[in-house]
């Protein structure tokens, strides 16, 4: 096997891995999964053209046949990369939105605790002031007793 076939095969395997990861781990939309799948197809086509160049592309010159093979693998790679970049962009947006929601949630929780704190403080003042009132009443009743 030619070294170029090995390279194409590695690219094809990487693209397959991408498909598998996207399918299993990243759980991307099926439409988006078509991209790396198409990339794999182009890689496989490129691999087949490279392996059976003599038979399939015999009508072409060497340089033309290599151009076809490399263009095919390049298209496959572009599809694969495009798929990744679309996922990455979507993921980034999702994370941004999640972080915004989280930040809102935690800020609101902070306000809530502030409000509760103020409430408790007011309650404490109420107690203190009724304590003052009680104290005054105590003094008044003591004054009656002396």
């Amino acid at each position: 096997m030619e070294p170029s076939s090995i390279g194409i095969l590695i690219i094809a395997i990487l693209l397959i891995i991408e498909v598998v990861v996207m399918l299993t781990k990243l759980k991307v939309d099926k439409m988006l999964l078509l991209m790396p799948v198409i990339g794999v197809i182009f890689a496989v086509i490129s691999f087949a053209l490279n392996e059976y160049r003599d038979k399939i592309l015999s009508s072409l010159s060497d340089s033309a046949s290599y151009a076809v093979i490399y263009i095919t693998i390049a298209v496959g790679v572009v599809f694969g990369l495009f798929g990744v970049s679309v996922w990455f962009k979507g993921e980034k947006e999702a994370r941004r939105l999640a972080s915004a929601a989280k930040s809102i949630d935690s800020t609101v929780a902070g306000i809530e605790s502030d409000i509760r704190g103020s409430g408790m403080e007011l309650e404490h003042f109420d107690d203190e002031m009724s304590g003052i009132k009680k104290k005054v009443e105590d003094y008044e009743s003591k004054e009656k007793g002396v």
Binding site: V28, L32, L97, D105, V108, V136, Y139
Partner: protein, 900 residues
């Protein structure tokens, strides 16, 4: 029961509005002192006024016996004797009608007894003791207390005696109305006093229909609301609870073994023999205002703390308000932010397909967070709103607290005023402190707690003042004049000195070295002064207890005691509680004011009611004519309700609050009046005789000087004649009055059993003989004078006319004519008045002769029962008395003003 614990069951019953208030005060003070009500004490109130009973907040609801007014049908059916006008009452409670109160008692009797009975049984079960002490308190002026007191007392004594086998010891406290109260309460008080005195006079058991009508009270204390002309309600309300609690009538659970001075048995022993007389209490207290001072210091320290805290709170509230504003802005901002993020998530989610990627898990999480934040936000918006209201409330509270601070400030100022310029009365003296002393004592406030009253005063360099306010009342004897009623201790303060001299001359009273009247008859039974303070506050040498006892027993009381109670009621006080046992409220003699001054206005008000209105002032024996009849001996008609009621009213109308034995004491006083009157008559007759001695100049030696002398002589004679005419009129009135007094006295003495002591009777006989002899002399002189008075005056007038008729015509200048006119006018007046005077002198003979016969009758009564030998002894003494010169007396027996 623990060892040393008091097992005497004590029931305090307040009847009517004021009685209930006093019971409420006792309870309040007891709870303040001990924190609880001892298990051997029960406090009950009986009232017919719901509002008044509700005001007694210290008394348990189940211990309040509130009697509602029954309808007129029930009232009529229960009380057939009740007159129609009294079937209902105006105003609150019994409408101050005692007769209505009696009818109410009959309607509610069972209820009252089940309540009192269940309290007594509860006590019996709690303590296991079978001895009962019952204290009853009421005002005599109202309708409820004064009408139910005696019936409740009689019935409860019977009930407890039968139920538990031992007779309860009962004490009563009656509050007399002030002189400023209206006729109705004032008259009620005399009605109640008459009935109480009637019962008190019967000390032996009188069992009628299984009910004992003898005196239920061992001691009955009379207290006045109007002392020395001032309303003393506040003192009274303070003094009664203190007296009862501090002296151990209501000991608050345990009997003090150390310093125990006077228990119920001891007190009963001291009161023995005086159960038929009234008693009174006195109270004096000198205090160092430690408690006020400590309170003042506490408040003084507290105020800056509170003020500082309020400033801090104000700053914090304003901070919270600022926060609230910013939080509201934040919340609004975040509300918009949530909407934006939501929108972004929505648009992110909507971008699906080959060229987009949506992380559903993250968006779901973000959405959930947003949702939670949204919910929280809406809750927080409400909370912020609520917080704003609460902040406003807190500001309002703070303003209130500021007002409370002002109150505290006012309280501090009030205390300062009370400490620096206390309102001291006759019975309460608080040591006055200067601002500087207040400041200096603050530095050693902790030491004050341990120092005695005396040591504190010494520290302030005010020892002399201490002794003046604490020891001098005993040393100088002032405490005897401090009872809580208006009582005249001695006849010497009420009677003119000339009468005292007559009585002294005849040996009815003696004078001590200072000239004070000493009269055994009018001394009250027992005087007890209990001095309550810390033992180291006493200085026996300066107290002079022995000298006080000697002075008091010599002049005012048969027996006296000064007891030191070494368990003080309060930290820095010197209290003097006095008990006057066996006081004599009645007047010492006719024409003299009663010893109990309250009787003056009570009698005035009572006498203002005519017979038809008198029943409103009475209660006892209405509807129960049988016991009344058995006790008094006045027959009744069974079934004749109205007649029997009128019979009872009539009896009360004529009833006098006086001991029969005391009536004999009136005899010397009436006789002293007779002797004084005779002496006045002699002076008057001498004056009448003098008129004829006008100097008439010789008609033959006319001169303007003689004419002037004649005119002056006639003027003087005319003035004297006018005096004699006036005097004859007054003398006649005086004689009629004296004759009435004498006849009334004879009437009372005739109905009495027993005679005065031999010695006393002999003295009286000597007085009667002297009076009779003087009267005979007077009658002779009157007859002589009345025969010649007209002629004597006629002769004077004739001589004057002769002088005037011989004035030479050439001498009749304008001045002489003026003199002539004046002389003629005086002669005309003299002629006219002389006829009146002669008639007056002649008419005096009538009442004098009548008095002479009354005196003879009095002599007979006095002599009856006396042996011949005694009569002889009397005659012997009479011989000795012949040389006694009768004093010159004024007409009034009593002094205009008195001062003790």
């Amino acid at each position: 029961m623990e060892k040393g614990e008091d097992t005497v069951n004590r029931i305090v019953i307040g009847i009517g509005g004021q009685g209930s208030i006093i019971v409420n005060n006792i309870l309040r003070m007891l709870k303040f002192k001990t924190g609880k009500v001892p298990k051997n004490e029960e406090f009950l109130i009986i009232d017919t006024d719901q509002a008044s009973a509700n005001a007694c907040s210290e008394v348990e609801e189940r211990k309040k016996i509130i009697l509602n007014r029954p309808d007129t049908i029930l009232m009529r059916n229960t009380n057939r004797w009740l007159p129609d006008p009294y079937l209902s009452a105006a105003g609150a409670g019994c409408g101050q009608h005692r007769i209505y109160g009696r009818a109410m008692y009959n309607v509610h009797r069972e209820r009252i007894f089940s309540a009192i009975g269940s309290s007594a049984s509860e006590l019996r079960n709690r303590t296991g003791g079978k001895d009962f002490f019952i204290l009853m308190v009421c005002a005599f002026g109202g309708g409820t207390g004064s009408s139910m007191l005696l019936d409740v007392a009689i019935d409860i004594r019977d009930w407890i005696s039968k139920q538990f086998g031992s007779e309860p010891v009962m004490f009563g406290i009656g509050i007399l109305p002030s002189s400023k109260e209206s006729v109705l309460p004032t008259g009620n008080a005399l009605g109640a006093m008459k009935e109480l005195h009637f019962l008190m006079s019967h000390t032996e058991d009188i069992i009628i229909d299984d009910k004992n009508y003898s005196n239920p009270f061992k001691l009955f204390f009379l207290l006045g609301r109007d002392l020395q002309g001032q309303n003393r309600d506040e003192e009274l309300e303070r003094a009664i609870p203190r007296f009862l609690l501090d002296l151990g009538f209501l000991p608050g659970g345990t009997v003090e073994t150390k310093g125990k001075w006077l228990d119920l048995n001891d007190l009963q022993n001291r009161a023995r023999g005086y159960e038929n007389r009234f008693d009174s209490l006195g109270y004096y207290e000198c205090v160092f205002p430690t408690e006020k001072l400590f309170l003042y210091y506490d408040i003084e320290d507290e105020i800056p703390r509170v003020r500082q805290r309020l400033v801090e709170i104000e700053a914090k509230i304003s901070d919270i308000r600022g926060k609230i504003d910013s939080q509201r802005g934040e919340l609004e901002r975040f509300e918009g932010r949530i909407k934006d993020v939501q929108r972004e998530i929505d648009s992110y989610e909507s971008s699906a397909g080959m060229f987009s990627h949506v992380n559903a898990a993250l968006t779901a999480d973000a959405k959930a967070k947003l949702d939670r934040a949204r919910k929280k936000l809406s809750g927080l918006k409400e909370e912020v709103y609520d917080l704003e209201i609460r902040a406003s409330d807190a500001e309002e509270e703070k303003r209130l607290a500021e007002r409370n601070l002002e109150r505290l400030e006012a309280l501090k100022n009030k205390l300062f005023r009370e400490i620096t310029s206390p309102l001291n009365t006759r019975s309460y003296h608080q040591i006055e402190l200067s601002e500087e002393e207040i400041r200096s004592l603050k530095r050693s406030r902790e030491d004050l707690k341990n120092l005695s009253f005396f040591e504190i005063m010494k520290k302030l360099d005010r020892e002399e003042e201490y002794f003046r306010w604490t020891h001098s009342p005993i040393n100088e004897g002032d405490i005897i004049f401090n009872p809580m009623v208006n009582y005249r201790h001695s006849i010497g303060n009420a009677m003119e000195s000339k009468y005292i001299d007559i009585l002294h001359d005849y040996g009815f009273l003696s004078l001590d070295t200072q000239g004070n009247v000493v009269n055994e008859e009018e001394k009250f039974g027992h005087f007890i002064a209990v001095l309550s303070t810390r033992a180291d506050n006493f200085d026996d040498a300066r107290l002079g207890g022995g000298a006080f006892k000697s002075m008091v027993t010599e002049r005012f009381t048969k027996d006296a005691d000064v007891l030191k109670l070494d368990t003080p009621a309060r930290a820095h006080s010197f209290a003097m509680y006095t008990l006057m046992i066996g006081v004599q409220p009645w007047a010492p003699g006719p024409g003299l004011p009663p010893r109990l001054r309250e009787l003056e206005w009570l009698e005035r008000a009572y006498n203002a009611s005519d017979f038809s209105k008198l029943p409103r002032h009475h209660s006892l024996f209405y509807g129960t004519p049988k016991p009344f009849s058995i006790i008094t001996g006045i027959p009744y008609i069974p079934g004749a309700e109205e007649k029997n009621r009128d019979m009872v009213t009539n009896y009360w109308k004529d009833y006098e609050i006086i001991e029969p034995e005391a009536i004999w004491n009136n005899v010397p006083i009436v006789l002293a009046q007779c002797l004084k009157m005779f002496d006045d008559l002699l002076t008057g007759l001498d004056m009448a005789e003098d008129i004829k001695n006008v100097r008439i100049p010789d008609p033959d030696s006319y001169s303007i000087a003689n004419l002037t002398m004649l005119v002056h002589g006639l003027e003087n004679a005319s003035k004297s004649m006018a005096k004699v005419t006036r005097w004859t009129r007054e003398a006649e009135r005086g004689f009629t009055l004296l004759k009435n007094e004498l006849d009334e006295l004879i009437f009372k003495l005739k109905g009495m059993e027993g005679v005065p002591s031999k010695d006393k009777a002999a003295k009286m006989l000597r007085m009667i003989d002297d009076s009779s002899r003087n009267m005979e002399i007077l009658l002779d002189r009157i007859e002589d004078l009345s025969n010649r008075f007209g002629n004597d005056i006629k002769s004077v007038i004739e001589k004057a006319m002769v002088f005037l008729g011989r004035i030479p015509s050439e001498e009749t200048t304008s001045s002489v004519i003026r003199h002539l006119t004046k002389a003629e006018s005086e002669i005309s007046k003299l002629r006219e008045d002389s006829m009146k005077a002669a008639k007056g002198i002649k008419e005096m003979g009538g009442p004098l002769a009548a008095m002479l016969s009354s005196l003879k009758e009095l002599k007979k009564i006095t002599e009856s029962g006396e042996s011949e030998a005694e009569a002889e002894a009397g005659a012997e003494r009479k011989e000795k008395m012949k040389n006694v010169e009768l004093p010159d007396l004024s007409l009034n027996i009593g002094r205009g003003e008195e001062g003790e």
